[in-house]
Amino acid sequence: MKNVLDFEKPIIELEAKIAEMRKYEDKLQIEEEIKILEDKVYQLKKNVFQNLSRWQRVQLARHPERPYTLDYIYMITDDYVELHGDRYYGDDKAIVGGFATIDGRQVMIIGHQKGRDTKSNLYRNFGMPNPEGYRKALRLMKLAEKYNKPVITLLDTPGAFPGLEAEQNGQAEAIARNLLEMSRLKVPIIVTVIGEGASGGALGIGVGDRVMMLENTWYSVISPESCSSILWRSWEFKEQAAEALKLTAADLLKLKIIDRIIPEPLGGAHKDHQKTANTLKNILIEELDSLVKIKSDKLVNLRLEKFAKMGVYEE
């Protein structure tokens, strides 16, 4: 089976069996049996998905059939004008963005973009931006500020690209600059982690007035694999590292790093793109409508205070 995670297997096998039985439903009068099996699948799904380990959530966040930024843009917006380039160096394909309309509201929408197959993944650099990606994002945000449009960012990256040119062209400076400029941008910013939120590469477009995560995503300072290789000196401890890092939406809500968890359909976002997009759309509209009422000076102050509160220490 293609693109099926281990813990999805029993569910998908049962679903396939039901589909098979449906073919003979009329001839054999097995409606009852099908009903029983369907209940069983539902219970099984509920059981599996309510008890996911942190590592399993990481796997779901990386599921190759999950909706990506452009899928959401397509499903959520009525109109979209994609804009390209950082005006200094190039156009990074791992970050996309442009003006869009959501239910009559004009916004700037920006996100990391992964590819779905080898070819598109190479084109998108697996969703790992170079400095020009962060600089493009900043240019678009400044444009949004100039025309008073709220900014929506969608985070989904395995990390900023650790390459030779990326370093040479100032990967660290590009991310740092975005953190500073986003923290004082005069229009509302709503951030949603839609897949992987890996470290500075994610945060580089992740400073905002509302920070939200889809239910089966992760957000942390390092990926479980890299954490395992550094602290355990082996790649084998990724499950333990995922547990230790407390990187799920529920963890981050508890740590007061995010404001809200966006529920996914039972079985994960990849099982029903449209349903996930609708939920996200409704929540974005709700947050947009409340944030646009706040005056820009106050908005910037509230944003500063929001991040000022993050951290746990003893005195």
Partner: protein
């Protein structure tokens, strides 16, 4: 232990470039010159024969840069709270305890107020020997407060970075310290107040990708390792060896990310000279 094993620690590559070893006579890591401790101290811990910069801590930087007895430390007691109850091969809380005991520091940054020449400045200096100078909640909060002091007293902010990046054991909380400190620097910038960032060996990861790269003026010590991703990770990604001098201070100067490189012996003088221009 086998009879052939080297027992002296400073022979292994890991221990090189670390803090000054004990004893009166110190061997330079670069040219192997034997130097007397007092001489090295008077020379700002720079080798008199080859200009190798020994890695030093916040205490040494304070004595090099500040007028005698002018530096007042702030928030010295702040300690990490282990919010994730993090455990790898060792409990984070134990790691903190033993590092505090070993280093005599409470976390990886020292902050305070003091005089450089006749100028009062708010100052923060990181310490690599505290868990690789990593930035967790304590480093983020202390630096944020130091920036607030600069903002409130309308004085310049100076940060010396020396860090492997964000601290893994505090997960996303460490990551958010990057946003927290950068937001405070934005406010300082809006108020028209100066921020000078000094990069020393090594400055990498989340530290570089936040305050370290946000100075009005960015200064580096010679031959420091400065970058976002570590050299090992980049080497793995591109599958070949890195060019000579990649991610060095000189490399960053060449590519436009550092204003100037300064020998530590001249740092105070150059800093004072620069500060003279950063006012209206």
């Amino acid at each position: 232990m086998g009879w052939f094993k080297r027992s002296k620690e400073n022979i292994s590559p890991e221990s090189q470039k670390f803090d000054i070893p004990d004893g009166q006579w110190i061997k330079c890591n670069s040219c192997s010159e034997i130097i007397h401790r007092k001489q090295l101290e008077l020379n700002a811990w720079v080798c008199p024969s080859c200009d190798y910069h020994f890695r030093i801590g916040s205490g040494e930087y304070i004595s090099i840069l500040f007028e005698k007895n002018s530096f007042k430390e702030c928030d010295p007691k702040m300690k990490s709270g282990d919010p994730l109850e993090f455990t790898d091969t060792k409990k984070y809380s134990d790691r903190i305890k033993s590092t505090i005991k070993k280093s005599g520091l409470n976390d990886a940054v020292k902050t305070g107020l003091g005089m450089i020449g006749n100028k009062k400045v708010s100052f923060a200096c990181m310490d690599f020997r505290f868990i690789g100078g990593s930035m967790g909640s304590v480093v983020g909060e202390k630096i944020a407060r130091a920036i607030d002091r600069a903002y409130n007293e309308k004085i310049p902010m100076i940060i010396i970075s020396q860090s492997g990046g964000a601290r893994m054991m505090e997960g996303a909380l460490s990551l958010m310290q990057m946003a927290k400190t950068s937001a405070r620097l934005a406010r300082l910038d809006d108020a028209g107040l100066p921020f000078i960032s000094i990069l020393t060996d090594p400055t990498t990861g989340g530290t570089t990708a936040s305050y370290a790269m946000l100075g009005d003026i960015i200064i580096a010590e010679p031959k420091a390792l400065i970058g976002f991703a570590g050299p090992r990770v980049i080497k793995q990604t591109i599958g070949k060896d890195l060019p000579e001098g990649f991610q060095s201070s000189e490399f960053l100067l060449e590519h436009g990310f550092v204003d100037y490189i300064v020998n530590r012996k001249n740092m105070k003088e150059k800093l004072s000279q620069t500060l003279e221009y950063l006012k209206k």
